[in-house]
């Protein structure tokens, strides 16, 4: 089977790649575009380490084919900071030690940013359920949840 030519937008940049129809969006981001921030922790949509947004919608990039990305707007962890200014979530994660090994961090940041855009004032329960698809094995989630909720509080105060 011949490959498909895909033209899409990643973090605001127009990009193109050729992919086999069996390759996932995650494969294409990592292997063709060298955007290795999204991780493959499971390949079955159970761990969330590959989280990205597609047309503003949070998805697992391992559960979407690369060929399906044609014409879409994709945002990854690499696009969260604005220039040299970290997103408040990124800053808060560092300050709170909301990461230990850091492998789940890109996916959690993408998911948390998506949460705060949808719900600027989430409860602890809402935050925990929103992030239930992002597995972290190091932290017990405590510092992650605190970092997300404190960022939300600061963003509310700032706006």
């Amino acid at each position: 089977m011949s490959k498909f030519h895909v033209s899409t937008t990643v973090n605001g940049d127009t990009v193109e790649y050729l992919c086999d129809p069996r390759e996932t969006l995650l494969d294409c981001l990592r292997d063709k575009l060298n955007l290795t921030g999204a991780k493959e922790g499971c390949g079955t949509g159970d761990c969330g380490a590959c989280s990205v947004t597609v047309d503003g919608r949070l998805v697992c990039s391992c559960l979407m084919l690369g060929v399906e990305a044609d014409g879409k707007q994709i945002e990854t962890v690499e696009g969260i900071a604005e220039g040299d200014v970290l997103h408040p979530l990124q800053q808060k994660f560092i300050e709170h030690a909301a990461l230990q090994c850091g492998i789940c961090t890109p996916g959690i940041l993408v998911a948390a940013k998506s949460l705060l855009e949808k719900n600027p004032n989430p409860t602890e329960e809402e935050t925990r359920y929103w992030l239930a698809g992002n597995l972290c094995r190091c932290t017990g989630y405590d510092k992650i949840i605190r970092a997300v909720m404190e960022t939300a509080a600061e963003l509310r105060e700032a706006s």
């Binding site: 949509g45 559960l63 698809g133």
Partner: protein, 288 residues
């Protein structure tokens, strides 16, 4: 693997009808991609139906019924306030599938066509009396959701047929639905038991009911004895006991990595009563 993204259901149907080997339709892909990745199923032909016009739409028809596009995602359903108001059970059932990320992709149609006896949205749809429009080489037909699955991983769809719309009836007055499932964690699991209840009241008395069980038999069950147990009652203790007993009696489960026969049988009764109470409260217009 050949990949196609047809522009119409007729074209999709023709592609499937003429394909050789294994064919899969790609809606949200949350099952198809998992099977592909694990080498369980590598289709010869993959037909992406998301480029077909209108498949993302959630439409309330003039008679109060709903048409859900086959690519409308769980997230889009949950964000649709009117749909949630009419059919909270169906929407909750869909919403329980997977993570926030999975909700961004997964669809009612995909959940149904995957053919899993544990599919969360299916008991809720069966209880709600949902039908699907099936389009094939010879035109379209309307099929009740409970008639689609024929066994684990199998459906009643023939070669060249695919689901082109999901039709939810009008809610009507004094009705309520609910879906509950049992999982060991709070999220991210496959249902060990699932129960959908849909009922209608006159005053405090139940006049219509449909009760459906998931994950307790090779296919999702529509259990008439459960409905009989509560129709005519005010959902008093005796009716709830009868409901639980009927639910447990209807189970024909297996022992597997997710649960035991004894557990599934017992808990189906427990969840049936809990779901019925929620549906009842909703039918009365109470918060639940």
């Amino acid at each position: 693997m050949d990949y196609h993204s047809p522009a119409s259901f007729a074209e999709a149907s023709a592609l499937a009808a003429n394909a050789t080997g294994t064919t899969r339709f790609l809606a949200g892909g949350t099952d198809v991609l998992v099977q592909l990745r694990s080498d369980l199923v590598t289709p010869n032909t993959l037909i992406d139906i998301k480029k077909i016009n209108g498949v993302q739409d959630i439409t309330r028809n003039a008679d109060g019924s709903w048409t859900i596009g086959v690519a409308a995602t769980g997230a889009e359903m949950s964000e649709h306030a009117e749909l949630v108001r009419d059919w909270p059970g169906v929407v909750e059932a869909m919403d329980l599938i997977g993570s926030t990320q999975v909700q961004g992709r997964a669809t009612l149609t995909g959940n149904l066509c995957n053919g899993s006896p544990a599919a969360d949205s299916v008991p809720a749809m069966v209880a709600a009396g949902v039908t699907v429009t099936v389009t094939g080489p010879d035109g379209s037909r309307e099929v009740a959701v409970e008639d689609i699955p024929t066994g684990p991983g199998r459906t009643a769809l023939n070669k060249g047929e695919l689901i082109s719309a999901v039709n939810i009836p009008a809610r009507g007055a004094n009705g309520g639905d609910a879906y509950l499932r049992f999982i060991p964690r709070t999220e991210m699991d496959i249902a060990v038991v699932g129960v959908g209840v849909n009922l209608r009241l006159e005053g405090d008395t139940i006049t219509e009911a449909r009760v459906s069980l998931g994950a307790v038999a090779p296919t999702v069950l529509l259990v008439e004895d459960c409905a009989k147990a509560i129709i005519g009652s005010t959902l008093d203790e005796a009716a709830l006991d009868a409901l639980a007993a009927a639910a447990s009696a209807a189970c024909n489960p297996i022992d597997d990595k997710r649960g035991t026969i004894a557990f599934r049988t017992e808990v189906s009764g427990v969840l049936a009563t809990r779901a019925a109470k929620i549906a009842y409260a909703r039918a009365k217009g109470e918060q639940a």
